[in-house]
């Protein structure tokens, strides 16, 4: 695991010249590299002359906040890997999980802060795979409504991070609910809504200061009612069949675009290789290097999804539509990582498990539209009951994100009533390691394992309770929220100094 993490970080940290390692397999929107064609003071290496669209033009500037070595002992530890340790210990050193085990087996290093958490629970930081914080922030006004570029059914070119308002008070409330990482998605008005962004839930002046270092991008797509409702009177899609023709036409275009770049890279590699071989010969006429294709932001994102660099998040309610989407993914050779909302996932839980697709669900939302009419309280549990399943509890709500633990508790109880008994140590995976896996960050967070980011929550009791409160929330080992210390409770610029707000306990408590 640690090795994989290092490899991934290294890959993402690469810049400039090293990007040549990615060779011709890299597609637009792929790993590293910049257009920064070497501002050649030294003679340019051939690889530097090959144009590659920048992979990360708005790079994360997040750095963990200072942390102290901290030993938390005596708590029930749910590791996020399915393990439960009674009277356990979690040791945080240098912002990473350093040790996890029975309290007797872990000792505090010199000078470490020791926290007696007897009677409490410790879990990994909670992860919400589906949030619109920042893009639909509080206050909700016309000025801040930035989540749906509802002008065309395909807006794959937009990036959610360019709408995220870091001063959304919702981030602070989510922090008080134990959220340490979250994916911000564009809305579901469009067939292709745009790119998502994965954030660490740390207040920052800039969105770059929140971006999860090394996290992959996601693509938001939407099935069913929403796209056809939005465009039904303005040129379509106005039907579900047009939804599908819209997706497929776009994938065909994206595949052609991807190939154009791959052909260019192959030609360019060959050209510079030939040029090098020919450089000794004199008198040859000058050959012109191949011209790179023109960049297209929309197709760049779609091509990234086709080659697997960008993770596909599909908003879909109905069972029959989800299965059709799986066929479409096979047709174009891409992978759907997660169906979001998936209110009817229980009807096709076997298909989802067989195709290795996650379902991100609510515990009990239903009925707000016809495609959500068949909701059942056992949805999460029935998806989870399949072998090799990947059930995720998500919020899609600035209210729900504050209590994903309670959503999981409800799902657990309803499953138990029909004989699918999930333990707490298993159910916690629905909101920690499973979303981490689906978001491509499981090598870094989502469980309490040595080497991972110390994203940790101390709860005043079992989190599977309506009375549970996150007491302390650590992000990369730094104590970012402490219910007992107003100085460890963030307030946004928008809220500070407002009447009434000064009397609340910070973070809306």
């Amino acid at each position: 695991m640690a090795v994989a993490a290092i490899a991934m970080l290294a890959a993402c940290g690469k810049k400039g010249a090293e990007s040549a390692d990615h060779g011709t397999d890299a597609a637009p929107g792929a790993e590293t590299s910049a257009v920064e064609v070497a501002a050649a003071e030294e003679p340019a290496k051939p690889a530097d002359l090959i144009v590659r669209p920048p992979k990360d033009p708005f790079p994360s500037t997040y750095e963990p906040y200072p942390s102290k070595a901290t030993l938390i002992t005596g708590a029930t530890v749910l590791t996020g890997t399915g393990e439960r340790i009674e009277n356990g210990a979690v040791l945080i050193v240098d912002g990473k999980i350093s040790a996890v085990g029975p309290a007797a087996s872990v000792s505090a290093p010199e000078g470490a802060t020791q926290i007696d958490a007897k009677g409490k629970y410790v879990t990994p930081g909670i992860i919400d795979i589906h949030s619109h914080l920042g893009v639909y922030p509080s206050p909700s006004t016309e000025s801040t409504s930035d989540g749906n570029e509802a002008v065309s059914p395909n807006t794959a070119q937009v990036w959610a991070e360019h709408s995220v308002w870091p001063q959304d008070a919702g981030f602070t409330r989510a922090l008080a609910g134990g959220i340490t990482s979250l994916q911000i998605l564009p809305g579901s008005a469009n067939l292709f809504g745009g790119r998502s962004v994965i954030l660490k839930n740390v207040p920052s002046r800039t969105v770059q200061g929140m971006k999860f270092p090394g996290a992959p991008y996601g693509l938001k797509m939407a099935c069913g009612e929403n796209p056809k409702r939005v465009y039904g009177l303005t040129g379509g899609p106005s039907t579900r069949m047009a939804n599908f023709s819209g997706y497929r036409a776009a994938w065909i275009e994206a595949a052609a675009y991807k190939k154009k770049w791959e052909d260019y890279w192959a030609d360019a590699e060959k050209f510079y290789a030939d040029e090098k071989n020919d450089s000794d010969k004199k008198g040859d006429e000058e050959k012109k290097p191949p011209e790179p294709p023109t960049r297209d932001l929309k197709l760049e994102t779609l091509a990234g999804a086709l080659n697997g660099d960008i993770i596909v998040n599909m908003h879909c309610y109905r069972a029959d539509e989800m299965v059709q989407v799986l066929d479409m993914a096979k047709e174009f050779g891409y992978k759907v990582a997660t169906f979001h909302h998936a209110v009817e996932a229980y009807k096709i839980a076997d298909y989802l498990a067989k195709n290795n697709v996650c379902a991100a669900m609510w515990a009990d939302w239903w009925g707000f539209k016809l495609e959500a009419y068949d909701g059942v309280r056992e949805n999460i549990s029935l998806v989870d009951a399949q072998p090799n399943s990947c059930a995720i509890v998500h919020s899609d709500s600035e209210v729900g994100i504050q209590r994903l633990n309670q959503e999981a508790a409800k799902a657990m109880a309803d499953g138990a009533h029909i004989g699918h008994k999930a333990t707490e140590e298993h159910a916690i995976e629905w909101l920690t390691s499973n979303p981490a896996k689906a978001m491509g960050i499981a090598d870094k967070t989502g469980s309490l394992e040595p080497g991972k980011m110390a994203d940790v929550v101390i709860w005043n009791r079992t989190p599977f309770s309506v009375y549970a409160l996150a007491e302390k929330v650590y992000i990369d080992g730094a104590l970012m929220f402490d219910r007992d210390d107003p100085k460890r409770s963030p307030r946004t610029d928008f809220e500070i100094g407002q009447p009434g707000n000064g009397f609340t306990g910070g973070a809306g408590q």
């Binding site: 096709i348 909701g375 407002q498 408590q509």
Partner: protein, 442 residues
């Protein structure tokens, strides 16, 4: 206990045995026709003067609660149910909802909760004209322990929404508890948005409506003969008659402390019986509200500055209002009916943020009954009140707790609904001899 030979005994299965609990609930459904049910050995949270009774019994007879206490004797022929120490509460009451008038929110034909913009009438609209007691939503919410609800229209583009009613969740045709139980009006930004986009417009318009209604009520014939503003419909003014007479509660949607102070003034100026809906900053005006005897129906999870009128939102709202002596109840999702069954979760979160436990139970039972003047019949486990009882498999406010039995007017209700049937149809996905469409109706 005597009369054992004539009693049919039903045991509520152990909490751990989920299947057992379901089948015992089915057993409970059978004696529905029977008029006398004795539930024994329960932890009774009465919401009444008797407080909490450990190892208590409840006797339901002829639709009402006929006995509450310890070791009640079983009348001849009674069905005796052993609650095995489980908790019993009065049926929970949702104080604001669109139950039975909104089957699916985003489906025009399946949602009658509010008129389109431009539709002329407002206060005259009656929720009962659209009420469908067989809405599938009702059985879903009932299985979550909700036994009664206020059903209210939502406002179109006018300030008044229409007439609300109290109904029970039995699904019977005769399920209307009280017609004309309340009227709903928009203030705050909801009012401003319907009044030239300014709060000045909303308050001026509200006063004008109320004055016209009072004028009409004072002498209808004279009013009709007089030259008058044509923007008022007589049927709307007629509907507001009981409101300006102070007989019918006026629910006013308002959130900011400033708007709430205006509500307090309005109540005093027009001698209204008002209830605040929303009240995200109500805690800032808690003492004035208590002094003016104005209850608040609040969303216990409103802790964000959703709009500028919600800047003071806090999870402590419920606790602070209660501490100041304000009568509170809870609503969620703005009243959309699909998850009223989560009201106990809302109450539980209020408890986690300082609301005393018994006050949270009261907010789900006796408080809403008082707000709508039905507390003589509903809202507590007391002799003479309607037999609305819920047996829970744990702490009723806990998210992992579910009802095992629900009684309305002394009758055991079915715990089945569209959701349980869909679940049963698909809980085993192995291929059968026939398609899934043949499953689940045994």
């Amino acid at each position: 206990m005597n009369g054992a030979s004539t009693m049919k005994k039903f045991l509520l299965a152990g909490a751990a045995l989920a299947i057992g609990a379901l089948s015992s609930a089915a057993a409970l459904a059978q004696p529905a026709a029977s008029q006398t049910i004795l539930i024994q050995n329960a932890r009774l949270i009465t919401s009444g003067p008797q407080g909490v009774i450990e190892n208590g019994d409840v006797l339901l007879r002829d639709g009402v609660i006929a006995g509450v206490g310890v070791d009640l004797a079983a009348p001849e022929g009674a069905n005796v149910i052993d609650a095995a120490g489980r908790t019993i509460t009065a049926g929970f009451i949702a104080p604001f909802s669109q139950l039975g008038i909104e089957e699916i929110s985003l489906d025009r034909e399946a949602n009658d909760a509010s008129p389109d913009p431009g539709f002329p009438l407002s206060a005259a609209l009656d929720s009962l004209d659209a009420y469908n007691p067989t809405s599938s939503v009702i059985a879903v919410e009932r299985a979550g322990g909700i036994t009664r609800a206020l059903i209210s229209p939502q406002a179109g583009d006018k300030l008044f929404a229409g007439k609300a009613a109290v109904i029970d969740l039995s699904g019977r045709v005769a399920s209307v508890t009280k017609a004309n139980a309340a009227q709903l009006a928009m203030a705050g930004y909801s009012g401003a948005a319907r009044s030239g986009d300014t709060r000045m417009g909303a308050w001026a318009m509200l006063r004008e409506y109320l004055s016209e209604a009072a004028s009409y009520a004072a002498n209808p014939r004279d009013y009709l003969l007089r030259k008058r503003e044509d923007r008022f419909f007589i049927s709307d003014l007629e509907a507001l008659g009981p409101v300006v007479a102070g007989r019918e509660p006026l629910i006013i949607s308002a959130n900011s402390a400033a708007d709430i102070r205006n509500v307090i003034r309005l109540k005093s100026d027009y001698s209204l019986n008002v209830i605040i809906l929303g009240g995200s900053e109500a805690w800032r005006v808690a003492r004035e509200l208590a002094a003016a005897n104005i209850p608040v129906i609040l969303d216990a999870m409103q802790n964000l500055p959703t709009q500028f009128e919600d800047l003071g939102s806090t999870m402590a709202n419920a606790a602070r209002l209660q501490a100041a002596g304000v009568t509170i109840a809870f609503f969620n999702d703005g009243g959309t009916p699909h998850n009223m069954r989560l009201l106990p979760q809302y109450a539980g979160n209020a408890v986690a943020h300082g609301l005393p436990y018994d006050a949270a139970i009261a907010a789900l039972t006796i408080n809403p009954a008082k707000m709508f003047g039905v507390d003589a019949k509903l809202g507590s486990v007391e002799i003479g009140k309607a037999g609305d009882i819920v047996v829970w498999d744990g702490d009723p406010l806990e998210v992992t707790t579910r009802p095992v039995a629900v009684f309305i007017d002394g009758r055991a209700m079915s715990m089945e609904n569209r959701q349980t049937k869909l679940r049963d149809r698909y809980k085993d996905l192995s291929k059968g001899d026939l398609p899934f469409a043949y499953r689940g109706e045994e």
